[in-house]
């Protein structure tokens, strides 16, 4: 398994997100004497750190035109703009943004997965396949050593969303795009789904140590890591970005087809490289790929439909 890109630098300040005019945080460096800060300043400092980590945007946003993303880079890097134009020329005219909270890969993938089922020409078949696939993850999690008690609530949230595609909620309706978006914007539902996918990725790595162990490195230090330690700190822990290993594990476990467009501003021609994650057993016609947009440290969803067409 070869990393097709340089591992993203993580942490605030290294994101490629365009600079927004936000209030300046209290600057803390090695010269700061924290004991000189007031209680209120310390509180602010803490809040700033939290706000930086979780900006004020929906967990998953509505479908918007790629031209809005293009506009944000217009004053900045030409190579980013060229790459955005390339994506538009390839038909990716829309973007659905995920909050930059470190869960964006899992959240985007889950949203894309359920939306694909919802748009499937035969939802009954798609839901049946997805349900049995999801059911197969339960023994997988148990094999990895997770107690049913710690994952069953998250599992049920994801399962009931999928089943709602064909079966109306008691006293409610079947799933629509609007209800799906609303569900993914509600922290309780959205974060439960994220946690479940994290546990599936972790179980896949833990249950196949020979396959994955050679690729488990500390994302900051680059040192090799023990499987259990890697999974606890960089797969199961909420808010920890997914890298190639987690993405491979998750897409294999859930037999997903995923294309990731790497918008890294490094291409001289403006072309964007797509990295494909494929399950060897699944057929693409039944399993249209989910396309994600990667910018260093962040994932969003790409879409070939316009918001108006939805």
């Amino acid at each position: 398994m070869q990393l097709p890109f340089e591992p993203p630098a993580s942490g605030p300040g290294t994101s490629s997100e365009p600079a927004n005019a936000s209030r300046p945080p209290i600057v803390v460096n090695e010269n700061t004497d924290i004991s000189q800060l007031s209680q209120a300043q310390l509180y602010d400092l803490n809040q700033n750190l939290l706000d930086d980590a979780v900006p004020d945007q929906p967990l998953i946003g509505p479908l918007t035109s790629m031209s809005t993303l293009r506009a944000e880079y217009k004053e900045g890097s030409r190579s980013f703009v060229d790459q955005i134009d390339y994506l538009i020329s390839q038909g990716y005219v829309s973007i659905r943004r995920a909050r930059g909270d470190g869960d964006c890969f899992y959240r985007s993938l889950a949203f894309g997965f359920i939306e694909n089922l919802l748009n499937s020409p035969q939802t009954d078949v798609a839901v049946a396949i997805a349900t049995s696939l999801l059911e197969s993850t339960v023994p997988m999690l148990e094999e990895a050593g997770f107690q049913e008690l710690v994952f069953e609530d998250f599992y049920e949230v994801l399962l009931s969303l999928i089943q709602q595609i064909d079966t109306p909620e008691p006293g409610g309706t079947t799933l629509t795009s609007e209800i799906l978006l609303e569900a993914f914007q509600s922290p309780e539902v959205s974060n439960s789904v994220v946690v479940y996918l994290r546990l599936v990725a972790s179980a896949q790595i833990r249950n196949n140590p020979k396959e994955y162990a050679p690729f488990l490195f500390h994302p900051e230090i680059g040192e090799p890591m023990d499987t259990r330690e890697f999974c606890e700190h960089f797969v199961e822990a909420v808010g920890k970005e997914a890298d190639h290993v987690q993405m491979t594990a998750l897409t294999r476990a859930l037999k997903m087809s995923v294309n990731v467009a790497y918008l890294d501003g490094r291409s001289h021609t403006g072309k964007v490289d797509f990295v494909e994650f494929r399950d060897p057993d699944s057929q693409l016609e039944n399993n249209p790929p989910i396309t994600l947009l990667y910018r260093p440290g962040h994932y969003d969803i790409l879409d070939e439909r316009t918001a108006e067409a939805l």
């Binding site: 924290i34 310390l42 974060n191 700190h233």
Partner: protein, 155 residues
């Protein structure tokens, strides 16, 4: 539908009532806001024959985010003297922070971690920055600024 955190806590409580590890005992779990346990280190250790009271506070983000966990310090209870335990009862443990918490951890798993943290203590001494930390720390350890609790990890 019950809230996710009470649903989960109910299940954890059922397991706790079925039995807890040696040295960990439930004192009070009357509400889903606050649970109390006694923690004792078994066998030979710096804390032999001592019982400490451990308090868990939950909000509706549990178990996606960590509970607030600390030792109770009042007229009848003291915090253990330990390099990662401040004299106000706050605990510096990676699993209780944003970096180390994961929803697969349970209340009992936290109790076991704290118990073994005490059991493995070689020298009873407070955190190096105890005098700086305690007067500035907010009442709830989850509201502590990251920078305020950084030095015992380096010590």
């Amino acid at each position: 539908m019950a809230l996710a955190h009470t649903r989960r806590l109910n299940k954890e409580l059922a397991e706790i009532h079925a039995g807890t590890p040696v040295g960990i005992n439930l004192v009070n779990a009357d509400t889903f806001e606050k649970w109390l346990f006694t923690i004792e280190v078994m066998g030979t250790s710096e804390y032999e024959a001592k019982k400490f009271l451990l308090m868990f506070r939950f909000d509706n983000t549990y178990p996606i985010s960590a509970p607030a966990v600390q030792f109770v310090v009042d007229d009848t209870h003291k915090a253990p003297v330990h390099p990662h335990v401040y004299s106000n009862g706050h605990i510096c443990a990676s699993i209780l922070g944003r970096e180390g918490w994961s929803p697969v951890l349970t209340v009992i798993a936290v109790c076991i971690t704290i118990q073994s943290m005490l059991a493995s203590c070689k020298k009873k001494e407070p955190p190096l920055d105890n005098d700086r930390y305690v007067p500035r720390a907010p009442e709830n350890p989850k509201k502590v600024s990251i920078s305020l609790m950084v030095s015992p990890l380096l010590a």
